[in-house]
Amino acid sequence: MSEAEANGNGAVPSPRGGTGEVIDVRRGMFGAKEGGDTSGYGGLVRTVRLPGASGRPYGGWFDEVADELEGALEEQGLVPEEVIEKTVVDRGEITFHIARDHLPVTARVLRDDPALRFEMCTGVSGVHFPGDSGRELHAVYHLRSITHNRLIRLEVSVPDGDPHIPSIVSVYPANDWHEREAYDFFGIVFDGHPALTRIMMPDDWQGFPQRKDYPLGGIPVEYKGAQIPAPDQRRSYS
């Protein structure tokens, strides 16, 4: 283990709590990865860590919501530990990582339980972590409770090879277009969606443009034999 890896994030401010979930390990800088690099950057190693699971107490109303959610799940005959993979409290926001099979029932109790009452879903945002093997695609939902004036986040992770998540359109009809958008851009298949078609890109488009590995075309400008690389091929700070 190199020194940069040992101390967390190298020169980057480490996430609060010191530890976290490793989602990627970056090597080199400016695209210099192998030998032949005389800049000295080729040896850089940076471990990318997202904030990890938090322990109780979460603080404020977070504990109340977590208790109520666990209680409501038990009422449904579920084991909370199997439904909620982990809970992350970071920067004053609480995130419940939900096992994908249990997402619809979780969403339903969050909406219907009077002590929870998250009436509104503000849609789903896809995130692609190519380095987080087995959990490459994340679907992030933000639920707002007007009754209790609260906001929580649900996160569901699925592998690239099996990008299926149950749809929650039957619970939150507002997610109709949002799930179509996440499918269009990330290829996350929301099972049970009434009409999962592309929404922004043309119907016959190939590929999912907001995945990190989607090739960006760029413009093949030639200047005295030099090619202008696409934005994702250009030198950048890793």
Partner: protein
């Protein structure tokens, strides 16, 4: 320049309808309207009278490139669907290849009628990731609030103006755009640009208010107070206007909740939900203003709410002017504060000559610092954040993910227009074709925000 249609022959199907003439570029056909009698008889011969009409994406009353797919039976809309995506520009993807500060130049172009809301929401999310929410100077927050409220006025003016125009009331349109121009003049004075400002930056503002701005804003508030009653006189009591808007575009509270509709649509059901009151940001809890509601659930209620919100915005703008204290408009952390010392020169807005003289002439460190911040940018600790503001159209949410790099890993905008537009079907189905236009106007979608 020869194409296949340049050589017409006897069986050309267009020959019966289009007159042709020869030019140097080839044959040019003049196509006039089709034979509507033929279409009408063909439709009458059909088993049912259902017709599918595509309204848009190039239709003046569909607010930009919105495509409405209407299944109509006589004059009644039986099914309505939206086709969107015609203005998709991949802004969210583009943000991933620019620094955090450059992001504001992209997000300001999303919903181009509410640029300051986009910028503020994005900057609040980035500031939360950086953990510098409390360090943003008061003066910056006050100016942010002032710009957002001025922006709310200009956005509502466009909503009312275009809504009026689509009804045929072009005077409303002229009035609305006349007053919006006053707001845009203020924006130009303060930010240098009428639209696409990139004025609000992570950590504060690009620059302080220019000399004379406070007086000009006060002048505007005075003028606007005089102009606002004109909309009342012109529309509020107007029987034709009321007949077109009342009970049209009906969506009750349960519908709003299910479909995620926010903003004036939600408040027209009587629920006073406003993020400025519920989850205050930028110090909104210290301002004195009311949240107007209505219980009609229809387009007319939304119109009245927009009108009243403009009055409330004027109140907030006045309070902002009163509490403007001299001070910095950017966080003190030199690792984050972009050294945007801008000045208006003869060739437009750019770095001020004093600043250039300083970094180029006297301080090597300042030059290095400037260079590093502009080319590399600052790093943001890994994690995710969600910030939401009450834009003129509803809840504008931003989900930002950082991987610890100098560029955003992922930025997602929950644009209120996008979510609100979903309720179009619920508002329009079962109504008249003409009412579709009124209902869509009352949603006030901006395709730049819907498609991003």
């Amino acid at each position: 320049m020869s194409t296949s249609h340049a050589s017409p022959h006897a069986t050309d199907p267009t020959a019966s309808q289009a007159s042709a003439r020869e030019t140097t570029e080839g044959t040019v056909y003049t196509v006039t309207g089709g034979d509507w009698d033929e279409i009408a008889t063909a439709a009458a011969r059909g088993d049912d009278e259902k017709i599918i009409v595509n309204m848009g994406p190039q239709h003046p009353s569909t607010h930009g490139v919105l495509r409405l797919i209407l299944e109509i039976d006589g004059e009644t809309v039986t099914e309505a669907r939206c086709g969107i995506g015609y203005l998709h520009t991949g802004i969210e993807k583009n943000l991933e290849y620019r620094t955090w500060t450059q992001g504001t130049t992209f997000v300001t172009r999303m919903d181009y009628l509410t640029p300051f809301f986009n910028e503020t929401a994005y900057c609040l999310a980035v500031e939360r990731l950086l953990g510098i929410e409390d360090q943003v100077p008061d003066r910056a927050s006050v100016i942010r609030v002032m710009m957002m409220e001025l922006n709310r006025i200009s956005s509502h003016l466009v909503a009312i103006a275009t809504g009026g125009m689509e009804l045929g009331a072009t005077t409303v349109m002229i009035y609305g755009f006349r007053d919006r121009e006053l707001v845009l003049d203020l924006f130009e004075l303060i930010t240098g640009l009428r639209m696409n400002h990139a004025y609000i930056r992570p950590g504060g503002l690009a620059q302080d208010l220019p000399a004379g701005a406070v007086d000009q804003v006060r002048e505007f508030v005075k003028k606007m107070r005089k102009n606002l009653p004109e909309y009342d006189k012109l529309c509020t009591g107007n029987p034709v206007f009321k007949a077109r808007l009342q009970d049209v575009g009906y969506l009750d509270l349960a519908g709003c909740m299910a479909l995620g509709a926010t903003g004036p649509i939600l408040r027209s059901t009587g629920l006073p939900h406003d993020l400025r009151k519920a989850q205050p940001y930028c110090g909104y809890e210290t301002y004195d203003f009311d949240v107007p509601t209505d219980t009609t659930c229809d387009s007319y209620g939304r119109f009245l709410i927009r009108l009243e919100e403009m009055r409330q915005s004027l109140r907030i703008v006045e309070q902002c002017l009163d509490r403007l204290e001299p001070g910095p408009v950017m966080v003190g952390d030199k690792k984050i504060a972009w050294p945007a010392q801008l000045a208006l020169g003869p060739d437009g807005l750019g770095n001020s000559l004093d600043h250039i003289r300083n970094i180029m002439g006297t301080s090597m460190e300042a030059l290095i610092h400037h260079f590093k911040l502009v080319t590399e940018g600052f790093r943001v600790p890994p994690g995710q954040a969600y910030a939401a503001v009450e834009s003129a159209k509803g809840e504008l949410g931003v989900h930002v993910v950082s991987d610890g790099g100098t560029r955003p890993f992922r930025v997602h905008f929950r644009d209120p227009s996008f979510t609100n537009l979903q309720s179009m079907a619920a508002m329009c189905e079962g109504g008249q074709v003409a009412d579709v236009i009124v209902a869509v106007a009352s949603i006030d979608p901006v395709m730049g925000g819907v498609d991003r």
